[in-house]
């Protein structure tokens, strides 16, 4: 008669264990769900902040600096080995330093030895349209320039001042092909003209990223209306991207490097093969 209670205990124990197991099995399922409210980093298309002379909508991370040194050799490749295809010089130089005051904006101070043009500009990203097919970026750049060494004029003569405004639309197809459309307005395009001239140009640039390190680029800045120095600038070349450098080697019919001078047009014709060798080096500086 003592068997019955132990069986009862066993049955109850098993029942409790089964209940325990089933309850704990349910409890192991978490009520956690992924929230999709993640703030992603800013959209970036072109890797570099500039094409050849045209800007891109790319900016830097806040507090980063960018140093630029650009050369355009004045003799063209047509001048041949006698001037080492241009490398003998003389050369037009731009030196510039940019500072990212936010993730979306850069201020840049630059100087070119062409009429000692001092250039100050601000670039700001306005709008990013993220999507899987063709992401878009919109930015604006505005700048003021002073030509401080013009024959027969005072250093700070008001007629030597220029300013410009650019609207930068960039798009990217996949991870490799990026294009830019940059309508630009330049005021006082030809500083020696008795009447103030303006130029309105429609910059186009494209870049194909073959590898992370190596890509090819093309740029064309036709004048739509207003002043143009003889020809539309065309540039093409390669870009090498390293940790913090962009190194561009180009051929171009324009030997000008500062924005207010470049936007006014080129003196050589691209079709004649009067191409200058040039390079841009930018170095990212993080302190």
């Amino acid at each position: 008669m003592s068997v019955a209670p132990s069986i009862r205990v066993c049955v109850v124990t098993i029942a409790v264990c089964v209940l325990y197991a089933s309850v704990s099995a349910q409890d192991d399922v978490s009520s956690w769900r992924r929230s999709d409210a993640v703030e992603l980093p800013p959209l970036e298309l072109f890797h570099s902040t500039q094409a050849v002379n045209l800007p891109t909508a790319t900016t830097l991370q806040r507090k980063n600096f960018e140093f630029e040194i650009s050369h355009r050799f004045i003799p063209t490749i047509k001048d041949g080995s006698g001037s080492l295809w241009g490398f003998d010089g003389p050369v037009n130089i731009r030196l510039a330093l940019g500072y990212a005051f936010s993730d979306a904006g850069i201020v840049t101070l630059g100087r070119s030895n062409v009429q000692d043009n001092i250039d100050f500009n601000i670039k700001h990203r306005l709008f990013a349209f993220r999507n899987d097919v063709i992401p878009l970026l919109l930015a604006v750049r505005a700048g003021a320039a002073m030509n401080t060494e013009v024959h027969g004029r005072d250093t700070w003569d008001g007629d030597n001042a220029q300013w410009y405004a650019q609207c930068i639309v960039n798009a990217m197809y996949g991870k490799r092909f990026a294009i830019g459309l940059t309508p630009s307005y330049l005021w006082n395009a030809y500083i020696l003209h008795p009447e103030t001239q303006y130029s309105f140009t429609l910059g186009l640039n494209a870049q194909y990223y073959i590898t992370r390190v190596f890509n090819v680029l093309l740029e064309w800045n036709p004048t739509i209306s207003g002043w143009r120095t003889a020809h539309n600038p065309v540039s093409f070349g390669i870009e090498l991207e390293t940790g913090g450098h962009f190194f561009k080697i180009i051929l171009t019919n324009s030997d000008l490097v500062n924005p207010s001078q470049f936007l006014a047009g080129a003196s050589n014709s691209f079709n004649d093969g009067d191409w200058h060798i040039g390079f841009n080096i930018t170095r990212l500086l993080v302190f």
């Binding site: 209670p5 132990s6 205990v9 109850v12 124990t13 409790v16 209940l19 325990y20 704990s24 409890d27 192991d28 978490s30 009520s31 956690w32 992924r34 929230s35 993640v38 703030e39 992603l40 980093p41 800013p42 970036e44 890797h47 900016t59 830097l60 991370q61 980063n64 993730d103 991870k175 992370r212 390190v213 991207e241 390293t242 940790g243 913090g244 990212l284 993080v286």
Partner: protein
Amino acid sequence: MKILLLFFLATFVAFSQTVEYHVDKSASNVVKFISDAPIENFEGVTSNIDGYLIHRSNDVTATSSLYFEVDLRTLDTGIGLRNRQMRDDYLHTDKFPMAKFTGRIVSASEAGVGHNVTVRGVMDIHGVKKPMEITGSLAPSGSRLRLRSSFEVKLGDHDIEIPRFMFLKIDETMKLELDYYLIKVKG
């Protein structure tokens, strides 16, 4: 007597509830990926960690389940270009945005007010799963629970290739540091 034992067992079961914690996203959570390559040291930092922890109220190892995921798209190394290179060339975050860990606490020892724990599980980075054992600490912090852990991940284990001709110097072994807070949602 047996009835009494049974009663105790039942009581024990009744009081040993499942406790569930979720990552408190409003807390100052920090996840660091530290690369210590010969030429270039850098850290990728993000606060975007999420997940949960479940265990029995009387025992952190009993029927425990720990899950966390880190949004690799938001890793910030302080240089935009380097972030992009990390995302596009190494981690391929368009395909594999998250680093995920699923595991359970296999042992715990009392350490001050909290526990030192060993968690066994599977790390999923770059779409490649790898069994891992990580150690860390769990300690109450106000109304929350603070989890801290530091461990190493080999990039090769997750098929993350380091291209030879690459200017971003990255160490094959990445050190991960987790420091985040969990808030009780159940139990």
